[in-house]
């Protein structure tokens, strides 16, 4: 494991509580960190922005 015990859950909570990432993406981040897999941040953040944009568009609609 690339992360110390308990850190994935704590980290996931920190990432979602601040609203910085959607829960599914926060889980993706901690999973990848846990197995030492490099994260493609540009793609992940693009997904996050798209999700936020979708929400905004719906609100606009």
């Amino acid at each position: 494991m690339s992360l110390p015990e308990n850190m994935p859950a704590i980290l996931e909570k920190a990432l979602t509580q601040t609203g910085i990432l959607e829960a599914s993406l926060a889980r993706e981040v901690t999973t990848d960190l846990g197995v030492g897999k490099p994260i493609k941040w540009n793609l992940l953040l693009a997904k996050q922005l798209q999700l936020e944009k979708g929400g905004t568009d719906e609100a606009d609609d």
């Binding site: 992360l3 850190m7 980290l11 981040v29 846990g34 953040l45 922005l49």
Partner: protein, 781 residues
Amino acid sequence: MKLTIEAFRGVNEEFSIAFDPKSHLSIIYGENGSGKTTISDALEFLFNGTAGSLEEKSLDGKGKIPALAHAQRSKKDLRVQWEDGGETVVARIGTTKRQIDGTPTGKLHTLSRKNITKLIEETPTKRFERIQEFVNVPALDREEGELRNLVAQQKQLQENQVRSAQQVETDLEQLHQRTTQDQSSPPKREDWIESILSESDETIKEHLEIFENLHHEITRLRNDFVPLKKAYTDLDNSQEELSATQKELARLVAESTDDFADALDTLEQAKLLFDRSSRDACPICDTILTHKELAEKVSAKLMRLKTLSAQSTNIKEADAAFRKAVSALETLQQGFYGIIQKLRLAHQAATEEETWNMPPLVVSLLKPTEARHLTAEWYHSLVAEASNLKPLGEYVEAQRTQLQRRQEIQNQLRAILARKKDTRKEHAETGRMIDKADGIARILRDHRIKHANETLASISEDFAKLYHTIHPGEEIDNIRLYLHPTQKNAARFDGTLFGNEEMTPVAYLSESHLDTLGLCLFLALQKKENPKNTIVYLDDAIASVDEAHMERLYALLLAEAKHFRHVIITSHYQPLRFKFRWGLLTQAKVNFIELGKWTLKHGIILAKGPNSEIKFLRKYLGDGDDAATIAAKSGLVLERVFDFLTGIYQCRLPRNPGAEQRWTLDHYKTGMQAEKTLLPALRCDHLDGDRSIASTHALGPLLDDVFRLLQFRNAIGCHYKELTSYFNEIGEAVKLGEATLALVDALCDEHDELPDNQKDGVSWTNRGVVSRRLYPLVKPS
């Protein structure tokens, strides 16, 4: 565990050193330059693939790994071999890196004196580098770095977007200026944009379509005008041709009307004639007609008939040409009429737009209701009115050009504004991306620091315990190492010193205290991470520790060593050798290894025990030809004997204090010479087989002989070589050697062992069968 080195740094020929796996602690003693660090470097090379102590040195750009090879050997000769638990691992140098055959069991962590200093005294960033292996979470560190890179890239992108936005502004300004420069009072840009965009592009498109249609039809009208004119002419010409041909035929027919009966008669005659070819008279009227005359007559008639036939053909051709001209004209008329119709419609559409002041069409274009009305006369009337159509053509062209320009400007403006909007949107999205990446990086950093501090806090108790074992009762509490909350990868170090919190130890503690502090921190960190799999190598790491703390430190190391796979300590600290040599620190199982003097020829050597030195001295004295070796060996033997008499023997002779706990022969000599009561009383009895005294040897005179000759040891052995010209070098060396052996023979047993047994309460005796008794145990009053 056994290390074998060849062609590595100062080691030319193969050198091996074994570490007893039963004892967890090995101590390698050696003078400076004896090869302690080379052994450390060899282990570092094998286990970690580094150049060890060379790593932090500048080699003026030369490769550090290749520099590990012995100066007189090729790098391909270099070999470092590690044998542990039946496994053998061999490391060599490839082109520039280590090539290893096998995988060493466990890992190696080396701490040198220099690294202790770094651990404690370096900047927080450098200090972090030393401890990061134990406290860092590489995945978090790596991804935090990736996010920082992403932020930097996105900021770069944002800068590009700002430049794009500036370019859009420039393009907009240039378009505004270009399109309004001809106006006497150009509108402000925003008003201009509003006015341009206020006009529907659909409307412009519709209007432009109308004028494009008008332009198209007028152009077609012009283009078909000449062919139409030609068609009228062609029709006239073909009609005239047909009439002329018909007239000619009529004339020919008229001329030949009478001749046709005659021609028939002629041909009938010719037939009869040919039927009755025997007579030359007309078969009808019997007129004498020669054959020749008849043939000429027939030919003439045939010629006339041919002329008629040809004319008939001409008429057919003229008629065909005429019909063709008619057809061509009709086609052109149809086409032209179609153009006129479309022109009328387009004109009608344009006329309905009140804002346009459309010039009218001419009558000749409005009058015809069918294509066949476009006669030559009509054509002439159109020609007569052609000049009246010029204003319409000019108006259409002007309107069309203006509309095209408006459409182009509007398109350009819309494209620029779209770019402006896109750029703003991209800039905003990039900003959001930066905020997100930065936010996540901060979260990763916070958790990384939190984890590191928790790790450091978890070792702090052990760390403090270790330190207080060496320095009990000192007012140092809460010594802690923690990561800087904001500075990237920086480890701060402070504690409560003398009641004051957050004090920097470096400022208040002595060098030896800082060394032990660093050592304790290092050990505490190593214990945190799978210590049973770790070999710890402390390379001269405790040089500054004084004698008072040394025993506690070694007791600590002895106790801590059992946590690890093995602990190897190197030292050049002479009191350490003294204590180990005489067994003062050997109660526990410690593997004590002493290195001899390094030479270019032999490289690193293991020092033989004192008994061996005595044997060597006997041998060299027997040979009697190597003054330097005899003097050097005498010095080594005397050093051991003086050590014994001044530090070990119960009733010790004094010795002068040595600088930094190191003693030269002179320190021993001057100290012992100063003793006036014990020195003359020192004696050693030699016992025979039934333990009765065979002889008694007073040590005082023997020591006096040695003291007298000791000056030659330095002169012969190594220093002041120029002095050797003033005395018989080999002669004095032999005298020193003989005096040394006389002292040894008086004091040591048959195995050259010194007395160390004191069971009888009055003397020290040798081990085993007692053959030597050393007196006195109490200094004479």
